[in-house]
């Protein structure tokens, strides 16, 4: 495929950057907040729940949903910027 200005390479790098950031958050809310640091976070409360427990049973799921929609928005913008979008 002709790619004069390394445009597609740049597009792919930016995509990877988004992935690293979003998956970093994914890891943080579930594995760090929900598991490894859950005990420490449990001294803080959200409503009647300990925070670490809440992340393991509620919070991480809400953030997963948000992460996907943010990714969709970022990628649709990126596709247009690099002119690789469909239709």
């Amino acid at each position: 495929m002709a790619d004069p200005d390394n445009k597609l390479v740049k597009y792919w790098k930016r995509n990877l950057l988004y992935l690293v950031v979003l998956l970093g958050i994914w890891f943080l809310v579930s594995y760090v907040f929900g598991i490894f640091a859950a005990d420490a976070l449990n001294s803080v409360r959200i409503g009647g729940a300990k925070l670490g427990f809440w992340f393991a049973q509620q919070g991480s799921i809400y953030i997963f949903v948000i992460l996907i929609f943010v990714y969709v928005w970022l990628m649709n913008r990126l596709d247009k910027e690099y002119d690789v979008h469909e239709d």
Partner: protein
């Protein structure tokens, strides 16, 4: 009207709806049969994916499981939702751009090898069959409890329904029935949850009720009250875990990665028209799933509190109707160890063996001094007197909360919708593996479109029969199968697909050796520590303290490392394959899924 009449009406109506949709959306071509013509709207596909994903286990067992596990139940909640983030970010858009019909299609083309394709087909079939057997059983169990027919009759009815719409409609029929099934199951889950949340905490939204105060005048938060009750009875605190952190991590990770590698989930993203629809569709799917998955822990906490306050230190004679109804089914059992007529429910295993074995005389249960059904299991020497099956929690919830008969019937229809929708999705993967990946791609490439469609229908028919057989004669490994299916998907597909997209240098040798070693290692660990083969072993012998459920994580990393090392020691993939990888990384140019 009685619960049973209501159940007949509601279940009957829902079945009529599924059949009506199947007739309306018959598949006329292989493209319609395999990927619903790749024209499904992303929101519709999200809903269908959610129904496909949420099985009888999610609907019936999960809240009960959490209610007994407390904090540790979070592994299922995070594990079965977090995988969608991986799907959306790492798999779905690229596989959609690739634009073929199946996961083995991708593996076979990307690794330019029919050996790789065959390994993938075998994995897809093993994963799907282990999973589908449990679904058919689930259909039978729901039928037998709510309509009082034998379990086997329930399995036959389930087979007939799935046969009808999977064989006739293929992916197109399945997609639109799954949308209807999602609506039925989410309504059936939410109605009792909302009623119970109102009754216990005064909040209409269960997710808020979970964080709220109990209505009993004590002014305590629900979770604090639950912790206190647990503390008094000698259980581990509800909001504290008892599993090792490393194991919690490994199980959660294996479930997430396994979710992203399950063929029946991946294939749903082939059905949308464009790459951006595949990304968006994963978001909708997770949103629809999250509605149930954030309600489940709330239901678990309500049910647990309700249960303890209802039964603990109360005389058997005061037990409500539901307690006695479930006692009859042997999913609940009480032994009055100290002969005081009062139920002691504390830490410990009440009975030896799997569940209560009821004493019978001429087919009638023998009653003890307090009127309880006598169980003959050997008594354990701890003071706990009560056995409760975790599956009761969701099914009995409406009765525990004193809800009207139609709500109880609704739960039956919801459980059936969850089981049937998942079974249909899995059966499609099996039938496609036979007709497309084996017959069309390997044995008879010149087969006509019409003949291939007949193979697909025939494959679906055979798959229904085999699934029904396993539903009626459940193999001994059924308890281990869910973990096995996820572990296998994690250890085989996930690394092969991810590396195929993100590592252009990955070649045939690397991918095949990785998949073979990954699966073998996973099977070995599973057989050894779950089924006692190869000398068996106790939890003390687990590698790094990781249970068989979490071992998919280890097997996945081993697969990745072997793939990477082997690929660097062998020649790079051909130019045209590298061009495929370049091509799937950009969205433009994704047409409909192409026939070969």
């Amino acid at each position: 009207m009685s619960v049973q009449t209501w159940t007949f009406i509601i279940v009957g109506l829902s079945f009529a709806l599924y059949i009506g949709i199947a007739i309306w959306s018959r598949a006329a071509s292989t493209k319609e049969f395999y990927v619903a013509g790749a024209g499904v709207h992303p929101v519709i596909n999200g809903m269908a994916t959610a129904a496909d994903w949420m099985s009888a286990a999610s609907f019936i067992s999960m809240a009960g499981l959490i209610s007994f596990m407390g904090y540790d139940g979070g592994v299922y909640l995070m594990g079965w939702t977090g995988g969608y983030v991986l799907l959306a970010l790492l798999l779905a858009p690229y596989l959609r751009k690739f634009g073929k019909f199946t996961v083995p299609d991708f593996i076979g083309d990307r690794y330019y090898s029919n050996v790789a394709r065959t390994v993938a087909v075998i994995c897809a079939i093993i994963v799907s069959f282990t999973y589908v057997a449990g679904q058919m059983r689930g259909v039978g169990v729901v039928f037998s409890r709510f309509l009082e027919v034998p379990i086997n009759t329930g399995v036959y009815i389930g087979m007939a329904i799935v046969f009808f719409y999977a064989v006739l409609g293929g992916m197109k029929g399945i997609t639109y029935t799954q949308v209807a099934q999602y609506c039925v199951l989410i309504f059936a889950y939410m109605v009792p949850a909302i009623f119970i949340s109102m009754a216990m905490t005064g909040h209409a939204i269960p997710q808020f009720g979970f964080l709220g105060k109990v209505n009993d005048g004590s002014g305590m938060f629900l979770l604090d009250k639950l912790d206190q009750l647990h503390h008094e009875l000698g259980f581990a605190e509800y909001t504290d875990g008892s599993k090792k952190l490393i194991d919690v991590f490994a199980i959660t990770f294996a479930l997430m990665v396994g979710t992203a590698g399950l063929p029946h989930v991946i294939v749903r993203f082939f059905t949308v028209p464009r790459v951006k629809d595949a990304r968006l569709s994963a978001g909708w799917a997770l949103l629809f799933i999250a509605i149930l998955y954030t309600t489940a822990p709330a239901v678990a906490a309500f049910a647990r509190t309700n249960l303890i306050t209802t039964v603990s230190n109360r005389p058997y004679s005061e037990m409500p109707e539901w307690f006695k109804n479930w006692e009859v089914t042997a999913l609940l059992g009480w032994v009055d160890k100290n002969n005081d007529g009062i139920i002691q429910y504390v830490k410990g295993t009440a009975l030896d063996g799997k569940g209560p074995v009821q004493a019978k005389e001429n087919g009638v249960a023998v009653r003890g001094a307090s009127g309880e059904i006598v169980v003959t299991n050997p008594k354990t020497d701890n003071p706990n007197e009560l056995y409760i099956d975790q599956d009761i929690m969701v099914l009995a919830n409406p009765e525990i909360a004193g809800l009207p008969a139609w709500v109880v019937a609704l739960v039956a229809a919801g459980g059936l919708a969850a089981a049937l929708s998942t079974a249909a999705g899995l059966l499609l993967v099996i039938s496609t593996s036979l007709s497309h990946d084996l017959v069309k791609m390997q044995f008879r490439p010149d087969i006509s479109e019409k003949a291939e469609l007949w193979w697909a229908r025939g494959g679906a028919a055979i798959a229904v029969m085999v699934a029904g057989y396993f539903g009626i004669h459940p193999p001994g490994f059924v308890a281990a199968t869910v973990a096995l299916a996820f572990g296998l998907a994690a250890a085989s597909f996930f690394p092969a697909i991810i590396l195929g997209i993100f590592d252009k240098r990955m070649n045939r040798q690397g991918a095949i050796s990785g998949m073979v070693v990954g699966i073998t290692l996973m099977l070995y660990y599973m057989l050894k520590y779950k089924l006692g083969k190869f000398g068996g072993g106790t939890p003390d012998d687990w590698w790094f303290g990781i249970s068989p459920e979490g071992f998919g994580t280890v097997a996945m990393f081993v697969n990745m490392i072997i793939s990477l090392v082997v690929s660097r020691l062998t020649p790079p993939p051909p130019e045209n394959v590298q061009a495929i990888v370049e091509d799937i990384r950009i969205p433009r140019g994704a047409g409909g899924a192409q026939a070969h």
